[in-house]
């Protein structure tokens, strides 16, 4: 669905490159998490995907068409929910009436359902909402627009605790085989249960590009008390319960994915990436490369 083909991108001639010879493919029917440290280019990548920025070299294509051309045929099938946005001071119904003609697959039923799940009334005035409510209303519109590609930048920022679980429910309900959702976030705990694919960026390169199922098949994420055996552990870090560990998973036991732990592990032990990507088993990871993190 989306092909990023050997792009170079930097914000100015004297500025360091955000992406250098960067390539990525994102297929349809998945919720893809875009994770990375501050300044690694997550938001930049979303802007490149939506045609808001132009790469200096290479191309970003959506269904084979260069998004930098900003053709309505592609734009009507891409929706970006930025971290910060402005909504006009009008009622939601007027906002919908003014914007829905641009999105041929817009669904009133889906909008009503999203608003209901977010505990929002359908007759609200956008100028009178708090930031979190505005975000929920805007995300409801974005989901109801029915675009094949939905890009979300820090969608859970500004949402209260109940709204975060509402967000997961709403997104899961709106997911279809034809749709791809790319979520860029620092708040990994808010979305890790939702994701079925993870792309981790580090220093303008891809640290990990893997389905969550493949990760969980190779690795188990556990909390182990102090003194418990660590023979099968690939990475560990101290936690309140003792040790958070990533261990080999030869039996294929399914444990909940801990993205924060995985991200820290990949930064400290890059060899883990080959292990997950290849899915070839624990023997491929050299013991000295596991680099158990004792510093934290």
């Amino acid at each position: 669905m989306i092909t990023i083909d050997h792009i170079d991108f930097k914000y100015g001639r004297r500025r360091p490159a955000v992406f250098e010879d960067f390539s990525l493919r994102i297929g349809s029917g998945r919720i893809c998490g875009l994770l990375g440290r501050n300044g690694t280019g997550k938001s930049t990548l979303l802007y490149l995907l939506s045609g808001l920025l132009f790469p200096q070299r290479g191309a970003v294509c959506f269904r084979g068409e260069d998004v930098a051309r900003r053709r309505p045929e592609e734009l009507r099938d891409i929706f970006l929910v930025p971290e910060e946005f402005s909504l006009p001071g009008v009622t939601l119904s007027r906002y919908v009436a003014l914007n829905r003609p641009f999105y041929p697959r817009f669904s009133d039923e889906l909008l009503a359902s999203c608003l209901r799940d977010f505990d929002l009334a359908s007759d609200l005035h956008l100028g009178q909402l708090s930031m979190g409510q505005k975000k929920k209303a805007f995300m409801s519109f974005a989901l109801a627009a029915g675009t094949s590609l939905l890009l979300m930048d820090e969608p859970t920022n500004g949402l209260d605790i109940p709204s975060k679980s509402q967000f997961r429910r709403v997104v899961a309900n709106c997911m279809t085989e034809e749709r791809t959702i790319v979520v860029s976030t620092h708040q990994v705990r808010d979305v890790e249960a939702l994701l079925d694919h993870v792309v981790m960026l580090e220093g303008s390169h891809i640290l990990l590009d893997s389905p969550t199922a493949a990760i969980c098949r190779c690795l188990s994420f556990e909390e182990r008390p102090v003194g418990a055996p660590l023979d099968d552990v690939l990475y560990e870090q101290p936690s309140l319960a003792g040790r958070s560990v990533i261990a080999r998973n030869p039996q294929g036991r399914e444990t909940p994915l801990n993205l924060e732990l995985l991200f820290n592990a990949l930064l400290s032990a890059p060899a883990l990436r080959a292990f997950i990507g290849g899915g070839r088993g624990a023997d491929n990871v050299e013991p000295e490369n596991t680099n158990r993190n004792e510093n934290i």
Binding site: G51, L52, P72, L80, E84, R94, L98, N99
Partner: protein
């Protein structure tokens, strides 16, 4: 792909006007207030103390109405330039750029929709505000115990005078070819200034009107110095012996300049990115 769809362009226009209705109404209110203050400053004293009923008094009244009409035409001209400077006002914030650039319409449709707002609706808003201010003055002044005739007829007759002078650009209405070429020069000079402000709005990210004005003044001053330094005989335009030929050459140059400004303005808009230079859309 359809490069221009009238229906979609109308939707962009509708979205712009109705979505920013409050902002535009506030702007209209500001212009209305400005027009009312100008009228009050001109008319308050003469209407309070009255003008004599004789010929001189009538002449004085007509002169005053003419001055107000002239002042209003100047305000309208300024407003047209300010409107042109607001062509891409909505691109000055990152949020605005994201909302507008990701809107599913072609670049030409978005450009034309914004052009209609800044070039057609802004002057129309001024006319509405001027008429409303004059009517309010006509309503309020008698309540204060004094009155003065409406400036609306004089204002519109002034506009009609300008229009009839410019009608000489049409070959069968112009008394001579030289007159037509001269009128074209005047019209193209006005269009050039307007096009420069449209270009400025596409080029400058913030304070487009102000920065375009300052840049224009700076460039004209520099051009003045250069022209003063170069002997006139060396300039091809001045060396043309016939005035008709000089007008024609100037017309062609100005026409090309207007087309160039529009082309560059559209090109700059097409290349706008969400994050870029703080001051310029490059």
């Amino acid at each position: 792909m359809k490069t221009f769809d009238y229906r979609r362009c109308a939707l962009v226009l509708k979205r712009d006007i109705l979505g920013n209705g409050k902002k535009y109404l506030r702007g209209l209110g500001g212009v209305f207030l400005a027009c009312f203050i100008v009228e009050a400053l001109f008319f308050y004293a003469p209407s309070r103390f009255g003008v004599s009923d004789d010929f001189e008094g009538e002449q004085e009244m007509l002169h005053l109405l003419s001055r107000v009409a002239g002042c209003s035409v100047m305000m309208l001209s300024l407003f047209i330039l300010v409107g042109a400077g607001q062509l891409f006002d909505l691109l000055k914030t990152k949020e605005g750029r994201i909302a507008f650039l990701t809107l599913p319409a072609t670049r030409a449709e978005k450009y034309v929709a914004r052009w209609v707002v800044s070039v057609v609706l802004w002057p129309a808003a001024f006319l509405v505000a001027f008429v409303a201010a004059d009517l309010l003055r006509m309503l309020v002044f008698p309540l204060l115990g004094h009155a003065f005739p409406s400036a609306i007829p004089r204002f519109f007759s002034k506009l009609a005078e300008i229009g009839s002078e410019l009608s000489d650009i049409v070959p069968w209405l112009a008394p001579s070819f030289e007159q037509m070429a001269e009128r074209w020069l005047v019209l193209l000079l006005c269009l050039s200034w307007h096009a420069v402000y449209l270009l400025g709005s596409s080029f400058f990210r913030k304070q487009a009107f102000l920065l375009t004005s300052l840049t224009g003044i700076l460039l004209l001053t520099l051009a003045g110095f250069v022209l003063a330094a170069v002997p006139p005989a060396h300039l091809p335009l001045v060396s043309v012996s016939s005035s008709v030929a000089a007008f024609c050459v100037a017309d062609v140059i100005l026409f090309c300049f207007v087309v160039f400004c529009y082309w560059l303005s559209f090109r700059l808009f097409s290349r706008v990115q969400v994050i870029g230079n703080k001051w310029f859309n490059v």
